[in-house]
């Protein structure tokens, strides 16, 4: 393939990519998933607390994640996302949730139900609990009812076959004795067994509000967490605030882009206008990539992500600048426009590669090591670097080489240069 054909091919590839990108990302507010800090909702990081009895292993975390997932499903949150973070944490994101407190309570409760023997009462009348007779692992489902006489809300639980048998044994052996129903170490009630219960069910009574009873039901039905999870980070964002932030973010990106464009045109004249095209291609491919990743559920645009995008606008302009400067310099040194364009852009891409790689490595370290929202910043920064190099090699370089062979020699002043001969 001769160089001309190669140039045409490079431009064709870019045109196709830009077309694909627009097809993917338009309209951007629907095609690019918005992160929680933008669309509003609840985002929590739950961290497993290791104790001497329960070690935080992968297996334990898998079970904990499954239970958290089940509880989230019951909260009725659509489009919830649950991810493992590091070795001991789970990130839960619930977009558009209205009642953060209920969700927090349902997620953070361990939900360990125990039926224990009672060995008497202390001075205040509180039962002193003894051995664990049975745990909540046999519960199949739970329902709520209201005691018609006291008006108290009760949680009725049903056991599976094995639980039913165990429960029958316990109640048969302890008729007339007190037993305690303990949830996460707190005695909920300590009834006296009236008669053997063989139907595989029991009632938990306590001073529950309707919300608390509903949470208890969720927690009992989804099972106890194998390990205590504590909130490490919780963020509740109102949708209004999020949309305000998005508007400010888009304004910042747009202003950054516009000012860079003005500066490029003022300083580099026609080349500056060429850099507008490069920036437009860069922006299109970036949005296209974000839309594609969004459609796979691998990306959600957060505010730190917007910061990363804004920053890469400068990066994209930088690689154009390096090429223009090197080209002009080689022309000054007496090379023909044609060969200056070829070797100049090649040298400049080498420099860009060095500089971009450094930024990429910093971003990669940040992405790998950091926890929390900052990773969104690292991610967009890495994407920006990759797209910048693609655009520089396929688009900007090709155009410079093509212009150097056609337009530049005729009107060098337009490109901020004198003719090659006069400058030699």
């Amino acid at each position: 393939m001769d160089p001309k054909q190669r140039n045409v091919l490079a431009l064709a590839v870019i045109a196709m990519l830009v077309g694909l990108a627009w097809w993917q990302f338009w309209p951007p507010d629907q095609q690019i998933t918005q992160g929680l800090d933008i669309q509003g909702g609840l985002s929590v990081i739950l961290t497993a607390q290791e104790t001497t009895q329960t070690l935080v292993t992968d297996d334990v975390m898998d079970r904990a994640e499954l239970i958290v997932r089940n509880r989230v499903d019951r909260l009725g949150a659509s489009e919830a996302s649950i991810q493992r973070q590091g070795s001991d944490s789970i990130l839960v994101q619930l977009p558009g949730i209205s009642n953060a407190e209920d969700a927090l309570a349902a997620l953070g409760t361990t939900g360990q139900l125990e039926i224990r023997a009672v060995e008497g009462v202390d001075a205040t009348g509180t039962p002193i609990v003894g051995d664990v007779l049975m745990t909540g692992e046999y519960i199949t489902d739970a329902s709520l009812s209201t005691d018609p006489t006291t008006g108290q809300i009760e949680v009725n639980v049903n056991f599976n076959a094995e639980g039913t048998r165990l429960w029958a044994e316990i109640t048969t052996a302890r008729v007339g004795q007190q037993i305690a129903i303990v949830l996460d170490g707190v005695v909920q009630s300590a009834p006296v067994v009236q008669e053997p219960i063989t139907g595989g069910q029991t009632r938990i009574t306590g001073d529950f509000t309707p919300e608390e009873a509903q949470q208890l039901r969720t927690v009992l039905e989804t099972g106890a967490l194998p390990v205590t999870l504590e909130f490490s980070e919780s963020r509740v964002v109102g949708p209004t605030l999020g949309q305000d932030s998005l508007r400010q973010g888009v304004l910042a990106v747009a202003m950054g882009l516009a000012l860079v464009m003005v500066y490029m045109a003022l300083y580099y004249r026609a080349f500056g206008v060429l850099s507008w095209l490069s920036l437009a291609v860069f922006a299109s491919l970036f949005l296209g990539l974000l839309a594609v990743l969004s459609s796979f559920g691998w990306f959600a645009l957060s505010l730190p992500g917007i910061a990363g995008i804004t920053l890469t606008v400068g990066l994209a302009a930088d690689s154009s600048i390096l090429m223009f400067e090197r080209f002009k310099e080689e022309v000054r040194l007496g090379k023909t426009f044609r060969s200056a364009a070829k070797s100049g852009t090649r040298h400049a891409i080498g420099t860009s590669l060095d500089a971009d790689l450094v930024t990429f490595v910093s971003a990669l370290v940040l992405y790998t090591v950091a926890i929390g929202p900052v990773r969104g910043f690292a991610l967009t920064l890495m994407m920006g670097v990759a797209i910048d190099l693609t655009v520089a090699i396929l688009f900007t370089r090709t155009i410079i080489v093509m212009l150097a062979e056609s337009v530049v020699p005729k009107v060098p002043g337009l490109f901020g240069m004198r003719g090659a001969d006069s400058d030699a």
Partner: protein, 300 residues
């Protein structure tokens, strides 16, 4: 064609002296005033209200206090909102307080953003930040050592440390909070600062291969001048977007932008005023370049 020639290397002791002064002031600011770390590092709650029309700062404070929050830190933002910091590390309680405050002040329930960080999490965040900084510097050192020579790598890192210390010094001076976003911004401008240094070093290396009738110092000075316009231009285009974020962005973007703007400015300066002179002075001690220096010192 614009041809600028500035005798940067002639001013090298001024640059180095100025930088030394900046370092002393920065270290002093950090030592005396200390850095203020965000709740991400120590646990607690931040409530931000985007807008709170008709609510006075004192009302906001007393409303939090009346709902059981001891000594909340209340700060108003430029856009007419508030940022309230408390030591509450239980998200349930923090959100309950938020709801009560919003109701009492008659604000819409979705006007705010409640972030709570648990007490143990800060250690993780701090460790991650330190690890990221260490790994980044190590990676940069390794990369520049492989790509260039160790003297270039060493001086490039000196310039980076200069930029980081200066930025943190400014944070200490103005009392701005250091957050994980600040750390991310620091990691990023380190890359950019290195970019400028690399551009100069690239040129010095290229020129040193055909070094004749000139001292290393004056060749280095020529190299800086040759790449000066592109250094200035790439720096300006790199600076514009963070400036736009600082002017138009919300709190999160400003968080990134503040450190970036200082770091980028420092980076432009340090590649010319710190990295290049130290490198050139180091190189001039090599016998080969010492000979050149003896012969051409007068001529240059």
């Amino acid at each position: 064609m614009r041809r600028i020639k500035v005798d940067f290397m002639g001013f090298r002791w001024w640059f180095l002296g100025f930088s030394a002064l900046l370092m002393i002031v920065s270290a002093g600011a950090m030592g005396i005033r200390g850095l203020q770390f965000g709740i991400e590092f120590q646990g607690g709650t931040v409530v931000s209200f985007s807008e709170a029309e008709g609510v006075a700062l004192a009302d906001m404070r007393s409303s939090f206090e009346s709902h059981g929050v001891a000594s909340p830190q209340v700060q108003s933002t430029e856009d007419g909102g508030f940022i309230v910091r408390t030591t509450e590390s239980d998200p349930d309680a923090a959100n309950e307080t938020y709801r009560a405050v919003v109701e009492e002040l008659g604000l819409p329930a979705d006007a705010g953003d409640v972030t709570t960080i648990g007490p143990g999490w800060g250690r993780n965040i701090t460790n991650a930040a330190l690890l990221a900084l260490t790994l980044s510097v190590a990676a940069i050192l390794l990369y520049t050592s492989l790509r260039f020579e160790y003297k270039m790598a060493g001086t490039a890192v000196v310039a980076l440390v200069h930029d980081v210390v200066l930025t943190l010094g400014v944070y200490a001076l103005v009392g701005r909070e250091v957050t994980p976003n600040t750390i991310a911004a620091v990691l990023t401008f380190m890359g950019y600062s290195l970019y400028d240094t690399i551009v100069v070093f690239h040129r010095i290396r290229e020129n040193s291969q055909r070094l004749v009738k000139q001292t290393f110092m004056s060749m280095a000075n020529d190299s800086i001048n040759q790449v000066l316009m592109r250094s200035i231009n790439t720096s300006i285009t790199s600076l514009i977007p963070p400036l736009a974020m600082l002017l138009f962005g919300g709190e999160t973007l400003k968080d990134f932008a503040f450190a970036l703007v200082i770091g980028l400015l420092s980076g432009v300066y340090s590649s010319v005023g710190v990295a290049s002179p130290i490198y050139a002075m180091w190189k001039e001690r090599e016998p080969k370049f010492q000979a050149l220096k003896k012969r051409y010192q007068q001529a240059s």
